[in-house]
Symmetry: C2
DNA sequence: GGCTACAACTGGTCATACCACTTGACCACC
DNA sequence: GGTGGTCAAGTGGTATGACCAGTTGTAGCC
């Protein structure tokens, strides 16, 4: 399987390195970064490239920049937004099980409410698209093939909910688990292969049955909960159930 | 009330202007931006400053940059994460009521589940902090004074939930409504002034009573639902209830 | 002790030159 | 006609050096 070779820019390298030091705790809240000139020299890049990275780190909520002052690490737990989540999945080369668990939990909560709202708000075309995607899930029982279909299914559901925050949070979550999509698909096997449950949900949405859509969405999104929970325990999470 | 004068950098100005054109639809998905050299000249800034802005626009999911190619507007509805939400609140100088409604809905769903998980997972110190913040809510019945306390209350609840995605989504939401905090506080008056409800929730969390915490959180977070809903209708939202 | 001026340092920007990559056109060969 | 190679023009990526704008600390004066 051939994939494109992606050359990493200097700016990306700097961003990755500094962000990694911050989220891993090597650089803590309040720590002062060296001056731009010193940092550019230390990292072997030009100052403009370094500045690009710093601007992005500031946008990600990891540092605060003040002209004439110095660049300081934030208490990013309190200020960084959901877009930082992909950076937290792997810390020091290891999967952070709290991040994985958080993703599944959030996926369930948002998906459930999105389905409820979708039953109320979606237009006819969206309801049809949801039914079509639910139907398309019968083409295979391989999770790797079903995952993109399910993603499209939920995207339509969230579209139909009319809640743009759910839309964008869903995007943030998807970007986070995309690098381990095959593993996620396997963990969600029970959900992905239950075509009938998806179709019943699509039917409840089509029928504008809000409580039923909510109940079914919750059911679907919980089908694989035992599997991902036990997998997380296997790789180190505390069992809190 | 004097506030610090924030001088806007050229990079910030470029970012704001281009992001505004994209989210307002003036620049649509697939549109090609002029070359960096042409755009820098057109906007009257240097190319490095322009590049800093473009890198940030790419990070925000609004454009895609390819070396040797051109910079293209994404279908950002499908790729931008939650951190873009503040940019969507005001479009063409007007409040987007869908964004406001989305925030309130998401706040309720995440807050409810966070309280449930908090009852299960929080350590003793966090439970105490939650109780302390609930207690602190009796110092006033002015929403403007209560809003920061409530924010801290919910921040602790979300801390205690152990769900980092909720944490960061909450940060993203907070940044979005912060510029209109006084209006939001007024809309949430019924919630913010109901000290007893907050204290009962804190007690349920302290008692590790998960279902009760969930029920009470939902109750608290829905107290002001009629108010924000009618306010949204007044400024133009469709009533979909 | 408080105020002012200055120097040193930091971040912000600009101009210029050059490097790396992409695309399209053209040519040669099979 | 299809494939591969080369070249030119254009785009993004980077570096260097100079200068501007803001911040902080120190010294001197009253």
């Amino acid at each position: 399987m051939l994939t494109p070779i992606a050359r990493q820019t200097a700016t990306d390298s700097v961003f990755d390195q500094v962000a990694g030091e911050i989220v891993s705790g090597e650089l803590g809240p309040g720590d002062i970064l060296p001056s731009e000139r010193a940092l550019a020299t230390a990292l072997g890049v030009s100052r403009p490239a370094l500045r690009e990275a710093l601007g992005r780190l500031a946008q990600a909520g990891l540092v605060q920049i003040r002209q004439g002052g110095s660049t300081q690490v934030t208490n990013w737990n309190d200020v960084a937004g959901l877009d930082l989540l992909p950076r937290l999945l792997l810390v020091n080369g290891e999967v952070d099980v709290v991040v994985v668990r958080s993703i599944f939990e959030m996926r369930e909560v948002i998906g459930t409410d999105a389905a409820r709202l979708c039953a109320r708000r979606a237009d006819t075309a969206t309801r049809e698209r949801i039914s079509n995607e639910a139907g398309a899930m019968s083409i295979s029982d391989d999770p790797a093939e079903l995952a993109p279909i399910a993603l499209r299914f939920w995207r339509q559901v969230i579209n139909g909910s009319g809640n743009i925050a759910y839309r964008m949070a869903h995007n943030s979550l998807a970007v986070t688990y995309e690098p381990m999509m095959d593993i996620v698909a396997e963990l969600l096997r029970r959900e992905l292969t239950d075509v009938r449950a998806h179709q019943e949900l699509a039917a409840a949405i089509a029928a504008a049955d809000e409580p039923r859509a909510r109940e079914l969405a919750r059911h679907v999104l919980r089908l694989s909960e035992p599997d991902w929970k036990s997998a997380l325990i296997m790789i180190g999470a505390q069992d809190d159930d």
